[in-house]
């Protein structure tokens, strides 16, 4: 469903990967592995379309995402290194605005329930900058339950999460995949059993 066709990427004139092809189907969890600086984040950003590859293309359901971005973005959920939340707004406001931008309707009740599910009961109205790093990560993660998207691209989503948070996220990924979704994720910790079956893709560090 999501395919990278011979993508090449270079950063600061160093080639990270060349002619890389990748195909991820529905119902698959792809675990992208590699040392620091290998280009995992760059590859994920190319897959989302935030970065343009030097060469090659990315296709979603057979269509080039640069030419038909809207169809892809309706089905895409990306969580990067940055939280995507504004520090002066509360979690509720942040998520509310985000849902409005992504054209997803959810009522207040659902928002409260989701924030409760990720363990932020009572912190919904606090400006996000007063939350801890782990709590801010949980606010970002609530999006997983709020937007019905088939493709999840998660860049080191386990950062700052405690043990319970990690377990929650892994079971969410397992759930999503078993319902026909697609997850591409990267992490420095190994995925445990809770994440279910997954395919590993190794990215090497090129000199």
């Amino acid at each position: 469903m999501l395919e990278a066709c011979r993508v090449t990427c270079s950063k600061r004139d160093r080639v990270l990967f060349e002619g890389l092809s990748l195909n991820v189907n529905a119902g698959e969890l792809l675990y992208l592995r590699g040392p620091n600086g290998a280009g995992k984040t760059s590859l994920l950003r190319i897959l989302t379309g935030l970065s343009a590859p030097d060469d090659g293309c990315v296709k979603f359901a057979g269509q080039d995402i640069q030419q038909y971005p809207k169809d892809y973005y309706r089905q895409l959920l990306y969580l990067g290194h940055k939280s995507g939340t504004n520090g002066s707004l509360s979690a509720l406001d942040n998520l509310g605005f985000w849902l409005a931008q992504h054209n997803v309707q959810q009522n207040q009740g659902t928002l409260y329930d989701t924030l409760a599910k990720v363990g932020l009961v009572g912190l919904e109205d606090v400006p996000v900058r007063y939350l801890s790093a782990g709590q801010q990560r949980r606010v970002a993660l609530s999006r997983l339950w709020l937007k019905p998207a088939r493709v999840w691209i998660l860049d080191e989503p386990f950062t700052a999460l405690d043990v319970k948070g990690v377990a929650m996220l892994e079971s969410a990924m397992n759930d999503h995949v078993s319902k026909g979704g697609l997850v591409i994720t990267t992490s420095h910790q190994l995925l445990s059993q809770d994440a279910g079956e997954h395919r590993v893709f190794d990215l090497e560090y090129r000199f």
Partner: protein, 221 residues
Amino acid sequence: MSLYAGIFKRDLHIAFKQKAELVQPLMFLLMVVTLFPLGVSPAPETLQRIGPGVIWIAAILSSLLAMERLFRDDFQDGALEQYMLSGMALPAVSAVKVAVHWLVSFVPLLILSPLLAMFLNLTYDMYIALMLTLLLGSPLLSLVGAIAVGLTVGLQKGGVLLALLLIPVFIPLLIFATSAVDSAALQLPYQSQLAIIAAMLLLAAALAPFAIAYSLKVSQN
């Protein structure tokens, strides 16, 4: 349409939570204007002569300072990435953000302007001309400035570089705006200067959103 209204609301919401950041450029403007009577001469004729130029130069400098907040927070906290992945057209998003930024910086300036006119001994006609030039010229500052802000948003040391990039580009606006107010001082018509500023504004309004969107994409890469 309501998608973009959402951005409008969000940015206004954030702006009101960051009131301190909004007031500072205005204080800067006021202080710079104050420097001129102190540094040049408090004589009323001198101030009236240099007044339009002083206010416009101070307006340009303070808007350069204020402009940085246009995309900086959204870039650093990742909200900009989420905008780019939302399916909304980035030029439209940029246009809405610039519009909010302009509203939030111009309305206080409007309120402050009689004080500035009084400090520099401007006549009533000059004041009207000044307000008209600011009304037409400040959106131009925001629109064109946003292009350079988009390019420098990812850099650590954005500030002075932004000024270096934008000041040459703002010179025509400065020339026509001050000339309009000077003409008003001499009771001469100044529609032609306003028309030229309006033409530049329309050109910017048409092209700048696309340039801003491209700049933001360059910064994201």
